[in-house]
Symmetry: C2
Subunit: 571 residues, 2 copies
């Protein structure tokens, strides 16, 4: 249960504000996260870590000398937006490039991935450190790889130590990725967690049971079993980790060990469990180096525990045991520091639309009206979309769509009032959505609308052919970004017939409104038909089965947007 | 809920074992707790802290350079026995004397107090640092003073820093007591905690409510109110602390601040709350120095939060911000250390009873038989005594009596088998009970039986007059130790008529068995009559009211022991 909060939507911001106040010798607040408050040398590789909030000490607790240079903090359990990752990374860059570290989840892959592209476009070396330690999720994470859980701590610690030691960009990336390759984790959960403002837990585990391999956001695990003895729990965690021993890792030898609580497991319980685990690992010929036991990567008030093992070579051991001083991890000799200058956010460039022809500005106003109607409709549909999403997801689709479209509407209104044309109004809406929604739907809708906008232009009133090209570009952009194909039970299932029907009807000579109406109808029918499909991406099998007979929330909301846009264009 | 445990009775021991394994660079295991594993200079004042377990990081988490020298760890929520305090303090002593730090609870006052007496008898300077910060408990703690909660951290940290800096015994004691005098705390609780092996929480707070000033073992607070906003909670904590500002403390100025979670409040919630508290304190003109926010003094999985403020002078600020490296607290430059030699427990002296006359050894066997019968009776009565105690206490009386009498029975059997006389068998039972039961009843029964034993002697079969003197000595010992008078609703209410009746009847010429039967009857009637009484010591008013109509568990068990002894003496 989360009990101390005001407005749930500002929970993360207020917690970060307090955190930065307490740990001001380590960190300073920047939009989207925290940055070291101590100076780092010019040319140092910046290690920027992040993901959704609610996992403290991940991620902000690992920023400081010997650790990360900055953390990007999304909303609770939601990936930070591409823009926030980009902004924080840019603030952290000291000319040596940026290693972006995060656990392997779909939204983070998209947002950190796009941010890395933008950084590279600015001439800043940027690569991903995707943590994939959770052996219980074999094949269930993004890209079919394992998810990332407490292995984050090892990968981030080693990346931070390498960067602190003066490794170059490639060197930091290589050793941190090797640390991840040599790290495996296994977890169990005793109870779920409750989001700020909610009265019901996000998921539950029956009393007296443990969810084996249950994910840190309640992603289903391998099985549910009666709570075991400490010895049984120790074996349940050790055996799968050792069975998944990385290629080339020795059976026996020197290992880093983390026993992690997931939020509300007591220290005493973790110590007791560690004692059993350590004894069993030693019996099997392992030497434990500098273990860490505590609440290291949590899920709000979830109860549970995980074991992480990293097979060490000489270099990894040196970096694992190197000094670090962070809010949540402190080791070895104090690294001397001097205060860094206060971060000054770069001045926002004001877009200048003064040269837009009147007809184009009128078209911009029309696009704005559509976006306003879409935001209103998604606000009203929020609870219903949440319910649909809860069948096979974490139920946050409605909230994410409402937040994103509200941000889009604000940006569109501002651009339209400043006289922007259709393309620029829609582009502003796209950026507003992507920058402020976060999560997976935020980045997807940002790309969708951005791709659409680029076909409209600002020179006049876009014709039907331009709009049809926009829809096709949106389809291309989204499928390229997320890798989803029609039939995968995603919004692509509704977007594909929408774009195809719109193009066909426009080519056949229909006017825009008539063609759009037919396309929206096709999207709606296709969204409804996703009931028959099983998800192919990012869903574990039990959830995929459970979703049969229920439509995909993303497809349903896409169809709703197309119908709402039609009604708005008509009026 | 505590979920990871094997045998509940070895929970503390196994957790400490794991803890010592993880933090072996800081601590080593000694019987009764942990001792620094790093060397300290000859003549350094030893700071030894402790109390019941289940409060981690209190107490073992604060042992290390710049912090405490050792921690004594009792069973969950039960004071460590006098013997354990004495043993750990003796192991920690480097010739500079021992400051014994603990929160103000009845059992700790007794056990640490008696241990200090024993240490002084050995020529080791030993004084108490009794932490009394909880303003919600004004007048409710032992000795009518406030209870100790998270103020422990400040008092222990400052004592540790002073000792590390080379202060002499009086200097450490003086500055640490001043730190305590200038420290005030206030807490709220959202939910109770569950002991290892129990399925029901020790106490509950209604959903959506918070217990204002509720103690860390569920001691009742001031009131129960609906959960407030973060601002309301911040005010609820700040105002009583500032209202209780110590004499001589400035209104405004430099303060140390702790925002403490009680076990399962999330970091994010604590950070958010700290942000509000810090803003409000600054508005009132306070400067916050080196705040600590986290799980610092917990109660297993209890949910709640507390605020601690220490008004700093220059010396206290210097010591508060001085370097420390402990498992649970790390600050400033690393204090250079070298490993200490492994602790070697002193060899146990074997008692030699070879000179005991045969008649005296026979009397010893008889006393042993009585103790065995008492242990059996208390084992059988355990659930019933627990139920009686739960009305106005924490329900652990039955467990404590069963554990204590079992230890007494083992010690008595050993002494009797070695040929000890009546006095020595009973003294062995007394020490076994006191050393291994812990808590308040352990130390009380230890003193009771020890005082009794000293009147019996080992020279032959004790006569009725010696036994009557024993009972009176037991009464004197217990009342001197605990300060309870007849009518306070304690075991003294049954012990007083037992001792008086036994003496009167023996003086009147009754044989021992007849006199004992009458005395046991008087004790039983008096125990039953405690139903009419309100507790006068160590119980808050709501509990005192609740206990009306219910007998005192301590008096009931005393009466049961006297009846059992009679039956055993008869057979």
């Amino acid at each position: 249960m989360t009990r101390i909060f005001g407005d749930p939507s500002s929970f993360v911001d207020e917690a970060l504000q307090g955190f930065t106040d307490i740990y001001s010798t380590y960190v300073q607040r920047v939009p989207g996260g925290v940055l070291r408050s101590t100076a780092t040398p010019e040319g140092k590789v910046a290690v920027v870590v992040g993901g959704g909030s609610g996992h403290y000490p991940a991620f902000a607790g690992y920023v400081g000398p010997g650790g990360a240079d900055a953390a990007v903090c999304g909303d609770v359990f939601a990936s930070p937006s591409t823009r926030l990752v980009y902004d924080v990374a840019k603030a952290a860059n000291r000319g040596g490039g940026v290693v972006l570290g995060f656990g392997n989840y779909a939204g983070d892959i998209l947002n950190f991935g796009l941010a890395a592209e933008r950084l590279r476009a600015d001439g800043i070396p940027a690569e991903l450190l995707v943590v994939t330690d959770d052996v219980a999720s074999e094949g269930k994470g993004a890209n079919g790889q394992r998810r990332g859980i407490a292995g984050d701590v090892v990968a981030f610690k080693i990346a931070g130590a390498a960067a602190e030691a003066g490794y170059d960009f490639k060197g930091v990336l290589t050793v941190a990725n090797r640390a991840n390759d040599l790290t495996r984790s296994m977890g169990i959960a005793f109870s779920g967690c409750t989001l700020p403002g909610e009265t019901e837990p996000l998921f539950t585990v029956p009393d007296g049971h443990m969810g084996i391999g249950l994910g840190i956001h309640g992603e289903p695990g391998i099985s549910e079993e009666p709570t075991g003895t400490p010895d049984e729990i120790a074996e349940l965690l050790i055996q799968p980790v050792l069975d998944a021993r990385p290629e080339g890792a020795t059976d026996g030898g020197r290992i880093a060990v983390i026993v992690n609580g997931l939020g509300s497991t007591k220290y005493e319980e973790l110590f007791l469990l560690y004692g059993r685990i350590a004894a069993k690992l030693r019996e099997r010929g392992y030497d434990i180096v500098a273990p860490e036991v505590g609440e290291l990567v949590t899920s709000l008030d979830m109860a549970g525990a995980s074991l992480t093992v990293t097979w060490l070579d000489e270099e990894l051991e040196r970096l694992w045991t190197a000094p670090i001083q962070c809010p949540a991890l402190s080791r070895g000799q104090v690294i001397e520091t001097t205060p860094a200058p206060r971060f000054e956010p770069p001045a926002q460039e004001q877009a200048d639309y003064s040269g837009t022809p009147a007809e184009a500005a009128a078209a911009g106003q029309r696009v704005d009206a559509v976006i306003q109607a879409v935001a209103k409709a998604l606000h009203e549909a929020e609870p219903e979309l949440g319910r649909i999403d809860a069948v096979a997801g974490d139920g946050d689709h409605g909230v994410g769509m409402a937040r994103g479209s509200r941000a889009a509407a604000e940006a569109a209104a501002k651009a339209s009032a400043a006289g922007a044309g259709a393309g620029s109004v829609l582009a502003a809406a796209a950026d507003g959505w992507a920058d402020r929604a976060g999560g997976t739907s935020g980045v997807v809708w940002g790309v969708l609308l951005r791709s659409f906008a680029e076909q409209l232009g600002d020179s006049g009133k876009p014709d039907a052919a331009a709009v049809a090209r926009g829809a096709r570009a949106a389809f291309d952009g989204v499928t390229r970004l997320g890798g989803a194909k029609p039939g995968d039970k995603t919004l692509v299932d509704a977007l594909a017939p929408f774009a195809t029907t719109l193009s066909e009807r426009v080519e056949a000579g229909d006017d825009l409104l008539t063609a759009w109406a037919a396309a929206a109808e096709a999207a709606t029918a296709a969204a409804d038909a996703t009931k028959e499909l099983r998800p192919q991406i990012g869903r574990a099998r039990p959830l995929a089965e459970r979703s049969l007979g229920h439509p995909d929330a993303g497809a349903i909301s896409l169809a709703l947007v197309t119908r709402t846009a039609h009604a708005a264009l008509q009026s």
